[in-house]
């Protein structure tokens, strides 16, 4: 099967399947579409700059405004300072304050937003612990559109 969009003469090198198409066109045939009606914000909490970039990239592609911090304590402080988010994506393994304790402290502040716990490797015991600490869902990395799309639809409808 030949790939689409094999056009020449475009030095900017975008990865568009059909250049010049209307803005509503899908970015690719694998990307579940979610057109947000509301302004949604997300916080990414991950010790790895690489993971922060990938997760923020995905959230931004869906139109969310994002912030990121690289440790648990920074996340707690940010929330304590009054920052509000619709979604928090939090790694279990974090420097300074681990993901479980960070989640507990955020919940203890009365924050009710959607929290998505992530980990590199899935152990059932860890999943139970993270859920008990207060995340709403727990997934193994990587965060993908298939996982994110239903969450975003749910948040957008609230």
């Amino acid at each position: 099967m030949a790939p689409a969009g094999v056009a020449s003469g475009n030095p900017a090198a975008p990865r568009r399947a059909n250049e010049g198409a209307p803005a509503e066109e899908e970015k690719g045939n694998e990307f579940p579409r979610v057109i947000l009606r509301n302004r949604l914000t997300a916080l990414v909490v991950d010790g790895s700059r690489f993971c922060r970039m990938v997760e923020q990239g995905l959230l931004q592609a869906y139109g969310l405004e994002t912030q990121a911090v690289d440790n648990g304590m920074a996340a707690v402080e940010l929330i304590a300072s009054g920052a509000n988010f619709n979604l928090i994506v939090i790694d279990m393994l974090l420097p300074v304050l681990n993901g479980l304790e960070t989640t507990r402290q955020i919940r203890a502040m009365g924050v009710r937003c959607k929290m998505l716990g992530v980990t590199a490797h899935f152990y059932e015991g860890e999943r139970q612990a993270f859920l008990a600490a207060g995340v709403d869902e727990f997934i193994e990395k990587p965060l993908t559109p298939d996982i994110l799309a239903p969450i975003l639809r749910e948040l957008d409808s609230q």
């Binding site: 099967m1 475009n10 090198a13 990865r15 990239g57 790694d91 590199a120």
Partner: protein, 154 residues
Amino acid sequence: MEVGQMQGRLVDYTKSLFMEGFLDGQFLQLQQLQDESNPDFVVEVVSLFFDDSEKLLNDLTMALDQKNVDFKKVDAHVHQLKGSSSSIGAQRVKNACIAFRNFCEEQNIEACLGCLQQVKQEYYLVKNKLETLFRLERQIVAAGGSIPLMEMGF
């Protein structure tokens, strides 16, 4: 070589990386995050992956070289590497990490050392492949062409 031929060569090369298991669907998803507002996303994210991974491989080498190996530390590093390799779509590196973690749990030093070799090998292979991929892309852009969008149905 004209642009169409270069694009064909890029497509074939990319396909081979998927067929041989070096990359998986996650890499395609990352490519789809790249657009005019974020034109160098893939190259940037891959370069962060390289930096991250090389640091982790160094840390792992040191950790396994200790008189009394701290397997918790080793496991934490492998855990990180598994997370980043699966997030970039480096399938073979990810799989090598999974095997590695099993031996960490068993606290088997010899096996861990073997796994470390394996992970390093897979990492350097995929690094080489990705660098080649980017070089092919740069050649196309330099010749005035655009990068063909890879689709999943090949």
